[in-house]
């Protein structure tokens, strides 16, 4: 499926939210960008999807979209999961003129759950994360007011201690997702359940990253050209997932052959494992490029 336009029923206002709700979100977004990594509170509106299912990201996207935007939605790297496809159709339905796409390069706004696209995003693109748990300090401090004070003072001693204890116990930092990451040398954020593989993409990016937590009613941002350092220790450095096989060779995607992507492990009926790119669009585009070169006529 490719770029396609849809009409909305006349009963909806553009963007579903009322204009005051959008303005509140827009003010929060401006402050989130001005104070990188800080969780800006806002009044979350009731949305037609279940809480915890991306209302925070959804509201940001609705506050951003205009009729000349092209929107893409991914869930674990896939555009065609039921959740991703439904959200994409919802945007097209309530935002008249907005174009839907599955192609990363065509999108102006991408809403995501659990992945950052493999292809480096451009300065004119915005990635909106759906965030289930916005505050990395929850694991060490139950009191929300105290957490806010700790964030404000950039006091992360207890978080460091927790990480260090993990390290002593397990010999390495065991966090697989939601890796605590320090933004612009001050705030530590929960970058949402992306794999460690994606964390370095937050650092000195060209695009703008926006994070929305609907249940906690928080918005935060990582602006372009901003440092994003995963918390780590000099003797146990941060590492991304390792995709080398038992012979020490980097596994390739069984579909497109890529050796530089985050791979999902698939188990066939005969219990043979295979590995595929998690980012389906990247995989498809890579496959097209290799199949169609040098003649690229069928690429459209």
């Amino acid at each position: 499926m490719r770029a396609r336009r849809k009409r909305r029923p006349a009963s909806y206002g553009f963007g579903f939210l009322d204009e005051n709700a959008k303005k509140e979100l827009r003010r929060a977004l401006m402050k989130a960008v001005a104070i990188p990594g800080y969780q800006v509170p806002y009044a979350s509106r009731e949305m037609p999807i279940a809480r915890g299912f991306g209302t925070g990201g959804l509201q940001i996207t609705l506050a951003l979209l205009g009729e000349d935007d092209t929107v893409k939605v991914i869930d674990q790297g896939s555009d065609e999961s039921v959740n991703a496809a439904n959200l994409r159709k919802f945007f097209a339905l309530v935002c008249l003129g907005v174009t839907e796409t599955t192609r990363t390069t065509d999108a102006t706004v991408i809403q995501t759950r659990h992945r950052i696209p493999e292809r480096r995003l451009r300065a004119d693109q915005i990635l909106v994360f759906q965030v289930p748990y916005p505050d990395p300090l929850v694991v060490v401090e139950a009191n929300a007011g105290k957490r806010r004070e700790m964030h404000g003072a950039a006091n992360y001693a207890r978080l460091w201690t927790k990480l260090y204890e993990d390290m002593v116990t397990f010999d390495e930092i065991t966090i697989s997702h939601r890796y605590p990451t320090r933004i612009a040398g001050h705030y530590v954020i929960d970058p949402s359940p992306i794999p460690r593989w994606d964390v370095p993409k937050l650092h000195m990016a060209d695009c703008l990253y926006l994070f929305g937590a609907g249940r906690e009613k928080r918005i935060y941002a990582v602006p372009p050209h901003t440092t994003a350092q995963p918390l780590s220790f000099s003797d146990v450095p941060f590492r991304v997932e390792d995709f080398t096989d038992e012979h020490g060779k980097r596994r390739a995607c069984a579909r497109c052959g890529a050796t530089g992507t985050f791979l999902d492990e698939l188990l066939a009926a005969d219990s043979v494992k295979s590995y595929h790119c998690s980012d389906i669009d990247f995989c498809t585009e890579t496959l097209k490029a290799t199949q169609c070169a040098p003649s690229s006529k069928s690429a459209a």
Partner: protein
Amino acid sequence: MATTLEIPTIYRPNNQQRLFRLLLDAMAHPGSVAALSAWTDEAPAYLAVLAALCDGAVTIADLDAMLEDADWRFLEAARADFAGARFIVARGDRSPAAGLAPTLGDLTAPEMGATIILVIAELVRPGLSVQASGPGIKGTREISLGTLDQEWITRRADWVRFFPMGVDLLICDRARVLALPRSTRIKSEGAAS
């Protein structure tokens, strides 16, 4: 018989969406100049900025009486003096008043730090220029601030000294705007003039 209220361009939702995206992009790229004129129908940039961001939920301090009654009606925002205002509008071609002390927010609510909209005659033409770095800026960047009075940059340094508290500046000329969020570090020595 009911007369249709003529809603100025900058108060129409689709234009406000476009203006907001330009402002968000400006905030994400401190010092980059956004041209607003395609969405303002000749309204001044400072008014377009206020229209895109304000409504009845916020307060505005209009330090130099630039807003007319009709503007206040459309903006719906409440008037405030600088001490409590979320938004402050002032002429930037002249020095800030000695006693001007905008809200900086506090450690647990830095977002309450004011957004200050400074209106100047000309942004780009030679005049004040500063070296800037920080989030949104690749390396360092020389930012031309045109006819902005340098005292604003001096005062800003005091206001943003204790990050995350601070103020965020949106500097406008007739049709353009650039942002200096509190996260931007400025070496003020670059002042020409």
